[in-house]
């Protein structure tokens, strides 16, 4: 076992991706691959002590009593190919959809999936328009007849043929490049998009979280105030990094013609930036919702929420942040210690129904 603050991951992969379990002790714990490419899970602050337990993925149900939803999610993640934030999100939505975490979670998962679908269409259309614009072709006609209509598709094909000629590319090659780019940019979207995509929205919410947490921690005499200040600071660093990455992507998109022509060299950059952004913002959605929920409650619940957030806050890996956040977190540990607040009913060892319900409610708000 290593201490929370000794545990300062160097890379995102070492930090692992957050999993939206509904079992309170496992909520937002992180999963990663060990040296033998086997999944393992990191459980921080067990029983309010210092340190992180590393449990092999297979043994997780033996080590902790889990809700049925979590058992299903556990199996889905084990079956999935990887454990990147996107892989985990896919599994989480699939598990939530079957109804084991309540009606709210089903509705939220369905809303998220239909939003993904909408964004997929939108980004494909936008990239085609950008490609045409880059070679000086007019695209408003497509919009008029509709992209999905037969006429619209024919028109698009013709125009894209022309565009491919001008770019000196095979049409299939151009389609292939755009399709690949669409997949990479799907969760980020374009800066000009009428409806911001998921990660852009998340970054905006994270800015809101930072402001709200800073306001809360300022002039607050509670013991949790310095911890809240620290959480705001981590959010600030994360937002700055995310803003840089989005800036790079937007810049690349702005010179679209170059991007298409030099796809072979640029592809790696776009892929890296897009994956870095999803790693950067991974785990924040739940914390933002948790905090928004706490803001409507009394001071005591807000203090508790700040402790809960601190427990699983996604610290930037050493290689990412200039400031060593784990060192700073270490200094706060003493004020994070409280009387033991069990995640299970101490009389029966059973799950705390109220806590599970709270997590499920927050899950229902995520869309």
């Amino acid at each position: 076992m290593r201490s929370l603050t000794n545990f300062a991951p160097s890379t995102f992969e070492e930090r692992g991706a957050a999993v939206a379990f509904t079992t309170p002790v496992l909520a937002q714990t992180r999963v990663r691959k060990d040296s033998r490419d086997q999944l393992e899970v990191l459980v921080p602050n067990l029983s309010e002590g210092r340190g992180v337990y590393v449990v092999p993925w297979k043994s997780l149900p033996l080590a902790f009593p889990m809700t049925v939803h979590d058992r299903m999610l556990h199996e889905l993640i084990a079956k999935a190919d990887g454990c990147s934030p996107d892989d985990i999100r896919k599994a989480v939505l699939e598990a939530a959809r079957c109804g084991l975490a309540g009606g709210g979670a089903v509705a939220a998962a369905e809303a998220a999936l239909s939003d993904d679908e909408e964004q997929r269409l939108l980004i494909n259309y936008q990239l085609i328009v950008e490609a045409l614009k880059a070679v000086g072709l007019e695209s408003t006609e497509i919009l008029r007849v509709g992209l999905t209509s037969a006429e619209g598709q024919k028109l698009t094909r013709d125009l894209m043929m022309k565009a491919a000629q001008r770019l000196a590319l095979e049409p299939t090659e151009l389609y292939g490049r755009i399709a690949e780019l669409a997949v990479l940019m799907e969760s980020i979207g374009l800066a000009s998009s009428p409806k911001p995509a998921r990660l852009r929205r998340l970054m905006r919410d994270l800015q809101g979280f930072r402001d709200s947490m800073t306001d809360w921690a300022t002039d607050n005499v509670s013991e949790a105030a310095p911890i809240g200040g620290f959480c705001a600071e981590v959010a600030e660093h994360t937002v700055n990094h995310a803003r840089n990455v989005i800036g790079q992507l937007d810049q690349a998109m702005a010179s679209f013609e170059t991007l298409l022509r030099q796809w072979e060299t640029k592809r790696a950059l776009i892929r890296k930036a897009s994956s870095r952004l999803s790693w950067l913002l991974d785990g924040w959605e739940y914390l933002i919702l948790l905090w928004n929920d706490a803001l409507t409650q009394d001071r005591y619940s807000q203090d508790m929420a700040v402790h809960d957030i601190f427990r699983v806050i996604p610290l930037l890996p050493k290689d990412e942040g200039r400031a060593d956040q784990s060192m700073m977190a270490d200094k706060l540990i003493s004020s994070h210690k409280r009387s033991v607040r069990a995640y299970v009913d101490w009389r029966s060892g059973q799950l705390d129904v109220d806590l599970v319900m709270r997590i499920e409610t927050i899950k229902g708000k995520a869309a």
């Binding site: 009593p65 889990m66 809700t67 058992r71 084991l100 009606g103 009394d298 799950l351 129904v353």
Partner: protein, 436 residues
């Protein structure tokens, strides 16, 4: 903005954003004590408390300071004081106190509202004078009659509250000390230094004002998350009394605590229908309070209290039986049917949420079933419901034309009622059977 418009806003003020809300409160403050303003303030009071707006200091607010903890609770989750003072009584009382003391003398107390060296002395003098005025007003208000000056009918509770206010004001410096020791309110657990402070101030009080000791202890209790907790600590506390006096004080406090439990259980019975989770929460809370009270009263076996507590237990028993246990199986199983399509989606979802709440309430009550003598009935109901749900899940998940969503929802209900271990077992059973 006109006053009329502000007042017309009424409960809309609960939803406007915080900055605007603060602005409106500022405006309302400037408009003095008009009855309409008071009504509006009463409507938005829960939000005022939540935001902890520091309101403009007035003499009226200073007057209330010593006994404010006894005002009726605003939120559902706020602790109910053991001895309540109505805000309306205080609102009618203050103008009388003002008239009794006189405008000129009151003006002399104004500096007490600002920070300064003489503040403490001035405050104490103000409270002493107010105590005299309230005592005089209380003499004029006869129980059972309508009091013209107060514009209220003097029921026994109001007569008691008036007398309490007079006593509290007369020991205001001690109360201020107590409030400083037991803060911030509400105090979730009594620690050594809390008990020490109550004892020290209490001992001092019992030398000079033994009659004020009961209300002093009630005030201390009202600053706790669960006011009846103080009762269990009280027997071991040395408040400097003779043992006979101590027994009498303990009896009288016990009576107040028991009366409050009785009130709450009656209110719970009367509420009926509605939110089953709230019923379960209330039942759990009442049983915990009952146990704490009974344990505290071990020292002074009293048949009358025993009898009253037994009656409360019976009423909690029937509350759980009729509002949580009854028809649990039918309600929960039929809600899953709402998923099979055909009906209104929103209605189906609401029905499902209600059924989930019912299932959680059942599980919650398992912890108190033993002490309420409902163990057998609860187990029977749980088993019956689980069996029907298992059958349903089996049909939906293993059958050829099943609706997987309904099947998983049935499993979820089992989880809520019987816990994840049981639900996982049943789920594994169904899935493995399917594979074979």
């Amino acid at each position: 903005m006109e006053m009329r418009d502000l007042v017309a806003l009424g409960d809309k003020l609960m939803d406007i954003d915080e900055a605007k809300f603060r602005q409106v409160v500022g405006l309302l403050e400037q408009m003095n004590d008009h009855p309409d303003i008071q009504r509006t303030i009463a409507v938005i009071r829960p939000r005022l408390v939540e935001l902890r707006l520091s309101r403009r200091p007035t003499l009226k607010r200073l007057f209330c300071d010593p006994f404010e903890d006894l005002f009726e609770a605003l939120g559902k989750a706020d602790p109910v004081p053991l001895s309540v003072i109505e805000r309306s009584l205080m609102n009618s009382l203050w103008p009388l106190v003002e008239a009794e003391i006189g405008k000129d003398r009151l003006r002399a107390y104004r500096p007490a509202l600002q920070e300064g060296e003489e503040r403490k002395t001035l405050c104490e003098a103000f409270w002493t004078e107010c105590a005299g005025a309230v005592a005089k007003i209380a003499e004029g208000a006869v129980a059972g009659h309508f009091s013209e000056p107060l514009d209220l009918r003097m029921n026994p509770n109001r007569t008691r509250a008036l007398a309490d206010i007079a006593v509290i004001l007369s020991i205001a410096p001690e109360v201020a000390e107590l409030k400083a020791a037991l803060s911030p309110k509400p105090v979730p657990k009594l620690h050594g230094d809390h008990i020490e402070a109550i004892q020290t101030i209490g001992r001092r009080l019992s030398r000079v004002r033994p009659d004020a000791l009961k209300i002093f202890v009630l005030l201390a209790a009202s600053r706790l998350t669960n006011p009846s907790v103080l009762l269990s600590g009280l027997w071991d506390m040395d408040l400097g009394q003779k043992s006979a006096d101590r027994a009498a004080l303990f009896m009288s406090l016990s009576s107040t605590v028991v009366a409050q439990i009785e009130d709450r259980s009656r209110a719970g019975q009367a509420a009926g229908g509605g939110d089953r989770m709230a019923v379960a929460d209330l039942a759990l809370d009442l049983v915990a309070t009952l146990d704490a009270t009974r344990a505290a009263m071990e020292q002074s076996r009293n048949k009358e209290f025993d009898h009253r507590l037994k009656q409360v237990r019976n009423s909690v028993h029937s509350m759980v039986k009729t509002q949580v246990l009854q028809d649990a199986d039918a309600g929960i199983v039929s809600a899953i049917g709402a998923l099979d399509g055909g009906g209104d989606v929103r209605e189906g979802r609401a029905q499902l949420a209600q059924a989930e709440n019912h299932a959680r309430a059942l599980r919650k009550c398992a912890t108190i079933a033993d002490s309420l003598g409902l163990r057998g009935e609860l187990r029977e109901m749980t088993q019956k419901t689980t069996a029907s749900l298992t059958e349903r899940a089996q049909k939906e998940l293993a059958g050829p034309a099943g609706n997987a969503r309904s099947g998983y929802t049935a499993i979820r209900m089992i989880e809520l009622i019987a816990g994840p271990a049981e639900a996982n077992k049943i789920m594994d059973g169904i899935m493995n059977g399917d594979r074979r």
